[in-house]
Amino acid sequence: MQRQTVAIVLLIGLAFGLVSLTPAMSSWRLFDNQQGYAPPQPIAFSHRLHAGELQLDCRFCHTAAGESRHAGIPSSDTCMKCHKFVTAPYGLVQDEVSKAGEENREPNVVVSEEIAKLYEALGLGEDLQPDPEKTPQPVAWVRVHDLPDFVYFDHRAHVHAGVSCQKCHGPVESMQQMRQFSDLTMGWCVNCHRESNAKGIEGHAMDASLDCASCHY
């Protein structure tokens, strides 16, 4: 390759870069900042229904939040604590019951489309018993909150310090589809640590570390 050619190609590349960057400048943010990210999930699980209307505690499903670095995405059998019995929304079940009443027959089991995906993943048959023909597969949730690999956030330290889940995750109880509420940047973390040290959390004095090695190792 001749040097002139390289120079020309480089210039074109640079120009192309500038052109493509300019419109994006208005919504400029740091690379990897995924605030607002709300990908569709394999099962349209609604936090608004579970955490909002039904008022399930966050840690009913995210059991490890108080014990481990990870809050944990609940294992599929956690869902079966309720969905062994709850197979469809109340309305659908009511409809079937009244319809069965009209037709003078036993009501069928109604399984909603989304919950059927769960049963499928767990390898259950129509009777909700394990079907030997099917292999259970984990539900491939799309990860919403994802910190860079060089950051180590610990849920249990924050839960025990009295930081509410909503402080970082936002009003999850009102989210039909889960989305990233905060920007999860280092500045945002450090601000909160500083504020907590100045004001305390719920009346408790705080000593939130500002050492690099609290999160980076």
Partner: protein, 1018 residues
């Protein structure tokens, strides 16, 4: 300080007396095979790189969203499992036959980190480098995935059917069945083997160890009427005299022996006392490097020295010993007398050990221990060791049978049979004639290549098994993960071929219920006993003692003649990193610098400096070693080893294993990268052809070998001169500047003045960051007792496993780019046979006035409130100023993105530590992830952190308990106490960098300080 150019301490013969000019870079371009004949020049390369970068930037800026990442939860969460939390399961190491106790750390279903089991009665919380490297072996993509038939994949069903049919035929025809294993410490596996063999008319189990102790058992048969290997109790010995037994490094049970030996190496207190350890050996072993007195003799001379000792001590004890006039001893008469005096003084508290393969030498050792009244005190015969049961005679008989074509079935487990035997070609031919050959190898090896069937056993972390390393101490092995490959437990294979298939767990449980449980009386119910044993990892059982007869002196015969010198004597030995060829597949162990020579990725012929001078040999010059008797030759690079006997060569076994061709391209790929394997396509050369196999014995000492220099050169990758604390001559003040890293004294001087040996440069008052860094909370620090540290390098692999330290390959090691966060600096001092060795673990010293911090332009390395020197990878831009300014040379730069392409192997990475990318600096973090874990747990529970609760990986595994970590702000902590003893000092204190890591001075139990050096008054 600037009083001379000769260093008292030196790291290699070349670095000694080195004056102003550093040698040219030692990289020998002519050696290694050039990879990729590059046609791109540097400028062209940079142009292309720049273009690619600009396009990547443009592309990168435009993407607002990273690609979706999946988060796969468990389908069913097992009870008690918390995602992200480590759980520990007690198990037993299988790295060698010592069977140390370990705790396998399992996180999210993955075994990740091995720790020593602190409650284990033998290993006492220590674990060696090999034990630490187990997880990498588990996640080894080269492990066999299924059985093989004639070298190609087969199913278990087909293989079983064929083997069963062949065995039935042999059962009818009465053919000879031979099962070869290394020492089986597992009573259950032994029972399975016996059961399997019982149905054949002519069946034998041959035990073959890579280095056996058969002579010790044979000698005890003659002197005590019981062929046993005594259990040596070093913790009870005030005087230890070892004849070539490397008990801290490779002999029988090094972790246990190191822990025991160390208990007598603490001179602190009002009346300083320490054991006296003399080592008589011909090559520089790790044990010899730690001895108070090291005397260099040829292996053939051991008998003569022992005879002299026997004559003196027999006379004192009033035992008559007949013998003619003894030839003069190869050591000075005063030394002999001194040894005898010390031993006599410490009757019942002394211990003589020898690794000799000569029965008569071992009988003399027994005689001496008997005369000194050591039996029942420092040697336990009632509950002997089962750790080495190899029988040379059986192996010799087997080889004869193989050659005569008398074997119908040969099954080999544990040891790579043909790799460890001489006369390879004849053997291969003989074995290929055998109708049924079965290998249980986990991965490709020499015998597996020959075997008709390869039936791979599980990795130990997937297995159910047990061990009884010492009579009455039972250990359990439990699986920590579902088998990752299509392998099968050897217990299950043997059961299937006996046509009574059973699960390994059931075989084990049944055996314990029938054979172990009835022998104890603590628990009445088997279920409780089993659960308790599984939880603890071991069970101590009261057993009937082995009965021995009174000492029979009739076998004792003195060596009266001085053995003649025939050319050179060759010693074939095992190394700490590769105790046998099963571990040659493990890149962590291959890249572990040998604790004494500091060579990685190769075996070599160690020669004395005198020999090197005689033949004008330099490190890496290829030499030819030729046996007079058999005419066998091998060619190896030479390595000049101070402290070696001038007429002795030593070569490590276990290298040149067929599976090591996989390392050809290990390490980063770049224009100048070179292969890690040698000309033979393997790592190192197999030295087994030079073993001597006669009718009765397999000898590792070969007398009468010829040594010649060849024209070839093979540059060794040795780290011995890397990261020197010395000031490079070109920047030092006139006359050079010496920097003292090692401080040592003698017991006599220490008793008189506990501060003796100190260079006493008190810390200055100047603190750089006193105002910013008040350090009111914790101040983490570490104390390392150099008197306890044996240099075994277990900490190095523990750190590698804990902190995701990459492997760089041989060529990169030669370029001084090894990445280990902790290194063991090995210094020599003294002359010739008096060469003294000092080991010093060196890692980031976490200085309060850290020189690295002041020069970082981007604040990527800063001080924490708790005294840690933090390295922030995501801030680092790779100027490397910090590494240049570090006086301890402990910082490591990522010259490359070290390959993490092997998805399976990546499962061994610790998820709590960042995998560093190219262009960033890294170094010891004092396992800050463990500190954080403990701090957060303490915040959550409200319980304060207890001293000793946080253990960095290096401290946890240390067999010698030489490392103490803790809070320097807590005056009652162990680390504060250690630092405040008179032996405490800091390396390069005079620079006032105020390190948080301190060392405890070496105290040698010597009458005189042969290396006395007056620092302040001179």
């Amino acid at each position: 300080m600037n009083d001379g150019t000769v260093n008292k301490y030196w790291k290699s013969p070349e670095s000694r007396n080195r004056s102003v000019a550093m040698p040219e870079r030692t990289l020998d371009e002519s050696v290694a095979e050039e990879s990729a004949a590059g046609t791109i020049d540097r400028r062209r390369f940079l142009e292309a790189a720049g273009f690619t970068l600009s396009l990547a930037t443009v592309a990168g800026c435009d993407s607002a969203r990273a690609p979706d990442k999946k988060a796969l939860p468990l389908i069913e969460q097992p009870e008690g499992m918390v995602p992200g939390r480590m759980r520990y399961y007690a198990s037993t190491c299988s790295g060698c036959s010592a069977a140390c106790g370990l705790l396998a750390g399992v996180r999210d279903g993955r075994p990740l980190k091995m720790e020593g089991n602190p409650e284990h009665p033998l290993s006492r919380g220590g674990l060696c480098a090999v034990g630490q490297a187990l997880p990498l072996g588990l996640y080894d993509s080269h492990r066999l995935d299924n059985p093989l038939k004639d070298g190609s994949n087969a199913s278990w069903g087909d293989v079983d059917a064929e083997i069963i049919a062949a065995l039935q035929q042999i059962e009818v025809s009465g053919g000879a069945v031979r099962m070869v294993t290394d020492t089986v410490t597992s009573p259950t596996l032994q029972a399975s083997i016996d059961d399997f063999l019982s149905r054949f008319a002519d069946a034998r189990h041959v035990t073959f160890d890579a280095a056996g102790s058969g002579s010790i058992r044979r000698a005890h048969e003659k002197t005590h009427g019981a062929a046993v290997l005594p259990h040596y109790l070093f913790e009870r010995a005030d005087v230890i005299v070892s004849f070539g037994a490397d008990f801290l490094g490779t002999w029988i049970s090094p972790v246990e022996f190191t822990a025991a030996w160390r208990t007598r190496r603490v001179p602190d207190g009002p009346h300083p006392k320490m054991s006296y350890h003399a080592q008589l050996e011909s090559r520089m072993t790790l044990t010899g490097s730690n001895a108070d007195e090291r005397l260099v003799i040829r292996p053939e001379e051991e008998g003569l020295v022992l005879s002299h000792l026997a004559a003196i001590l027999a006379q004192r004890a009033g035992v008559s010993l007949t013998g003619s006039e003894l030839a003069p001893a190869p050591i000075a008469a005063e030394q002999l007398q001194d040894l005898a005096d010390r031993l006599w003084e410490a009757r019942g508290r002394s211990l003589i050990v020898s690794a000799s393969e000569d029965d008569q030498v071992q009988i003399l050792v027994n005689f001496l221990n008997h005369v000194l009244g050591n039996y029942g005190k420092t040697l336990d015969m009632e509950r002997p060791s089962h750790q080495q049961q190899g029988s040379d005679a059986d192996v010799a008989a087997l080889v004869k049978e193989l050659r005569d074509g008398k074997v119908a079935a040969l099954l080999v487990a544990g040891i790579d049979l043909t790799h460890y035997l001489p006369a390879h070609e004849k053997l291969v031919q003989a074995i290929s004639q055998i109708p049924l050959t079965v290998s249980f190898a986990e991965r490709w090896n020499d015998f597996a290549q020959l075997a008709k069937f390869v039936c791979p056993d599980h990795h130990i972390l997937e297995s159910w098994l047990d061990a009884e390393p010492v009579r009455g101490v039972f250990s359990l092995v439990q699986p920590t993960v579902q088998p990752l490959k299509g392998t099968r437990s050897i217990l299950e294979s043997l059961a299937t071929w006996s046509e009574k298939p059973a699960f390994a767990q059931d075989v084990l449980r049944t055996n314990w219920q029938e054979k172990v449980f009835p022998r104890q009386n603590r628990v009445s119910d088997f279920g409780t006993f089993w659960d308790q044993s599984l939880h603890d990892g071991f069970a101590k059982i009261v057993t009937d003692p082995v009965t021995t007869s009174p000492f029979d002196q009739s076998a004792v015969a003195l060596f009266d003649a001085a053995p003649e010198v025939i050319d050179y004597t060759l010693i074939l030995h095992n190394t700490i990193a590769i105790p046998d060829s099963r571990h040659a597949h493990n890149p962590w162990l291959q890249e572990l610098p040998d604790p004494v020579s500091k060579v990685t990725w190769d075996n070599y012929a160690s020669v004395a400096p005198e020999t090197a001078k005689e033949l004008s040999l330099q490190d890496g010059d290829v030499v030819r070693i030729e046996a007079h008797d058999s005419g066998t030759t091998i060619e190896l690079p030479a390595f000049v080893q101070p402290g070696q006997h001038p007429r002795v060569l030593s070569v490590a076994l276990g290298y040149g294993s067929p599976g090591t061709d996989r390392f050809a391209n290990i390490g980063p790929e770049w224009l100048e990268s070179k292969s890690t394997v040698g000309r033979n396509g393997l790592v190192g050369t197999n030295a087994a052809p030079l073993l001597v196999l006669d009718d009765e014995r397999l000898l590792h000492v070969h007398t009468g070998v010829r040594l010649t220099k060849t024209a070839a050169h093979h540059a060794l990758a040795t780290t011995q001169e890397h990261d020197s604390l010395d000031v490079p001559p070109e920047v030092a003040p006139l006359g050079g500047e010496r920097r003292h890293a090692i401080e040592e004294t003698t017991l006599v001087q220490f008793a008189a003045n506990p501060k003796s040996g100190s260079h006493a440069h008190p810390l200055g008052d100047v603190q750089l960051w006193a105002e910013d860094h008040p350090q009111e909370g914790h101040a983490w620090g570490m104390a390392i007792d150099l008197n306890a540290c044996s240099g075994c390098s277990a900490c190095l692999i523990a750190c590698q496993s804990e902190n995701n330290v990459p492997v760089v390959g041989r060529d990169e090691v030669r370029r001084q780019r090894e990445m280990h966060w902790i290194r063991i600096d090995r210094y020599y001092s003294g002359e010739g046979a008096n060469t003294t060795v000092s080991h010093q673990p060196m890692m980031c010293q976490h200085c309060d006035n850290a020189p690295c911090e002041t020069v970082c332009p981007v604040l990527a390395t800063v001080h924490s409130e708790e005294g840690l020197n933090q390295q922030v990878y995501n801030r680092c831009v790779g100027t490397r100023y910090c590494a240049n300014n570090c006086p301890y040379k402990v910082r490591r730069f990522n010259w490359f993105d070290y390959p993490h392409n092997d998805v399976f192997e990546n499962l061994s990475l610790n998820p709590d530590v960042t995998v560093r990318s190219r262009g960033v600096m890294e170094k010891c973090s004092m396992c800050v992830q463990r500190i954080q874990e403990a701090k957060i747990e303490s915040q959550c529970s409200g319980e304060p952190i207890v001293d000793g609760q946080i253990q960095p990986a290096c401290q946890q595994t240390c067999p010698a308990s030489a490392i103490v970590f803790g809070d320097l702000n807590d005056p009652d902590s162990k680390v504060s106490a250690a630092m405040n003893t008179p032996r405490g000092y800091r390396v390069l204190e005079e620079l006032n960098v105020r390190p948080s890591v301190g060392y405890l001075r070496i105290v040698r139990n010597r009458e005189t300080d042969t290396h006395a050096e007056d620092h302040h008054d001179g």
